[in-house]
């Protein structure tokens, strides 16, 4: 098991390097540091001196790959690629353009993101699975048709609509909860109820439909026929046998996204003014802070890869038939 995890981690390294190269190419080669400096200093009347000063302040005054001025190993290390890009591999994110430490910001903003994302995931999962089970119980009839149609309709409504309408009706017209904002501690509940509810409602359509397909697929397998042949009632078949077996495909979908919960939701957080990582990223995009965007891209990749590995491990835990490490 341990050997397997280590092997997977080693396999992840080339992927991380690949992501690193892509972001480096995007941020430094398509747009040279000169362009970035000009961007920040304003478009017109910028002297080369000012550009150079800006570059020096933010540590961009190095060649891209090869530094001819230094000798030996330093000619490779004292470059932009090494200092700005490879540093990410060791989680040194550096400083944002306002001079704040990015790692610290991330550690601080992670919690509000999680406070929003975890309830959305858990409540959403429970509701979606129960709806899907209900629909699967009455499959083939009008209830099934009705349920699926409602799901498709809910899927087709833009997520922005749920947010805008919810904010407007609950927050502004009924004045039940504050429209946006955040406060630490227990006060947070007041601010989180609405976003969580909206997040759950927005996910019901796609989620329920997806789980319904999984249940229907399971219902076709031989063990279901055996269970029915034994004379078990449909309810027991569904809840005891099908639900357990359907957990495997459900788990795969869920475990992958668990690590990325840290990143928060871009749209929800900025709409509700929650100071999480999602709104952090949006602010960075809007103020064109490349360091933060690069750090977030990298962080997202790492979390995704962790999610993939976790999925494989969770497979072995739920499904004894899957053996990790054997050559299958």
């Amino acid at each position: 098991m341990l050997a397997y995890i280590i092997k997977r981690l080693i396999n992840a390294i080339p992927i991380l390097i690949g992501v690193n190269i892509i972001t480096f190419a995007l941020f430094f080669m398509v747009n040279t540091p000169d362009d970035m400096a000009r961007m920040h200093l304003g478009q017109k009347h910028v002297t080369q001196v000012a550009i150079n000063r800006w570059k020096q302040q933010h540590g961009y005054d190095k060649p891209l790959f090869y530094n001819a001025k230094d000798s030996g190993i330093k000619s490779l290390t004292n470059t932009l690629f090494f200092t700005k890009s490879l540093e990410l591999l060791t989680f040194h994110f550096g400083k944002s353009d306002q001079g704040r430490d990015i790692s610290q910001d991330i550690a601080q903003r992670m919690w509000p993101s999680l406070a929003l994302a975890i309830p959305v995931l858990l409540i959403g999962l429970t509701i979606n699975i129960s709806f899907a089970l209900l629909i699967a119980l009455f499959r083939g009839g009008y209830f099934d048709l009705f349920g699926v149609t409602v799901c498709i309709i809910m899927m087709s409504i833009s997520g922005l609509f749920y947010i805008i309408a919810g904010q407007h009706v609950v927050g502004k017209m009924l004045r039940l909860v504050p429209v946006s904002g955040y406060h630490g501690g227990l006060d947070a509940i007041k601010f989180l109820i609405l976003p969580v509810a909206i997040g759950v409602i927005g996910g019901i359509g796609a989620g329920t439909r997806w789980y319904r397909t999984i249940f229907l697929e399971e219902l076709h397998k031989d063990y279901v026929r055996t269970a029915r042949a034994k004379g078990l009632s449909e309810l027991i078949v569904l809840f005891k046998h099908v639900l357990k077996n359907a957990l495997i495909p459900i788990l795969t979908g869920v475990v992958v996204i668990i690590p990325t919960l840290f990143l928060g939701s871009l749209v929800m957080e900025s709409f509700f003014g929650i100071p999480g990582l999602g709104s952090y990223t949006i602010d960075a995009i809007q103020s064109q802070d490349f360091n933060i965007v690069r750090a977030m891209v990298y962080l997202g990749t790492v979390l995704y890869i962790i999610g993939l590995i976790m999925t494989d491990i969770s497979y072995t835990l739920v499904d004894p038939r899957v053996r990790i490490g054997s050559n299958t």
């Binding site: 080339p14 498709i152 997520g159 922005l160 609509f161 809007q286 995704y304």
Partner: protein, 460 residues
Amino acid sequence: MWSLACIVFIAFLIMRKKPHLAEPWRQITKRKLGMIALVILCFYIAVGLLDCIHFQITTTQKHTQQTSLQVKSVLDLLLGSISTEHEKTYSEPFATQLYTQSLITLPNGKEIRTYPHLKYAATHLKNSGRSRAYDITVRSLTGASIAIISFLILASCVIFLLAKKHHVNFSLYLKAIIRGKTNVAWREAMLTFLIIWLFIWIAGFLISEYHIFGTDKIGQDVFYQAIKSIRTGLVIGTLTTLFMLPFALVLGTMAGYFHGWIDDIIQYIYTTLSSIPGVLLISASILVLQVYISNHPNLFPTLMQRADARLLALCIILGITSWAGLCRLLRGETLKLRELEFIQASHALGVKNRKIILRHIIPNVMHIVIITLVLDFSMLVLAEAILSYVGVGVDPTTLSWGNMINSSRLELAREPIVWWPLLASLIFMFLLVLSANLFADAVRDALDPRLRQLEGDTHA
């Protein structure tokens, strides 16, 4: 976009000839929901195509002696004057006055605060003295009656042709359609057509005198914006598909067919790309593009070109982020296929690899491709709105639903609130996405053999 329409049409002709290919599509037309969705989609596509035919108009203004060059589409001509007439600011749907008060100097020199009359809407009411409600009813009734009459003529022509094709007489076939007994779900298709047709004619009679969805901040007609946004939505959906399809198809089948290092490299590429969170990659790339455009202003002289460049770039990036999923599916399917007897037989007969892939593998994975593409389409339309909100979507000057929703955030905060641009864009987007989803469902049911069997069993 026209070329894509041509490809689809040619594919349609080829498919008709081959019964084993045509069968699944016939299944789609049998399904009521699928047929309804198809009709709605056709209308959207028709509007989009009309909007794509551009031509330049040279207008000479007499008093200034200036010649101005305007790019217009056929759609603009059909919609008439609402594309150019601008009110001052917000006005409600069917309003005769502006939504906000302003200071007006009366002819006798007094200044009063009032709701000024609209410049281009309901101007004829003042002269004739009729009430607004009466005028709207008369106009919609005229529109509706024309729509119904033309529909009856069209429908009877279609039924006549169909009856001739099936060698039954007209009244018999008419009865079959009304009872819904025909093979193809003609009844549902015709009803949907009638509803849309009614809407078009009624709207057509109203838009010349009213702003049926009101006007926005700078006084542009919201209905016009919503209609024009159809093109943006469709372009994003189709162009992205065009960009991603060749990559996914070629690389996916190659990875599955050749084992070894080719497989490794392709797998590495798509794992790397798909492990970057999509939204972040898109926003990073658009950010970079923005810097590039603003630093090279001479490459993009006009605003139009900038907006187009951004739209194109958005499509490419969306294509890059979304091809990995399809590629993975295709690789898996090809892995299964290459072990089958008929592939091994062609191997043994000495058929070249390239030919095997082209002749035997690609036709056999086509159902996966089509299902994924149709499913992705609705996702892309929704994604556009969210990206525009984040600020990395299409250019703010491009008319799109995302931009309309984005600007409506401020409008909802106004007192009294301005709700119609939001509602209009949401309704138009919802209809397109809903019909695309329903159509995708029908396509999947018809093309996916495994699912077909599954559903068949549960309904039995």
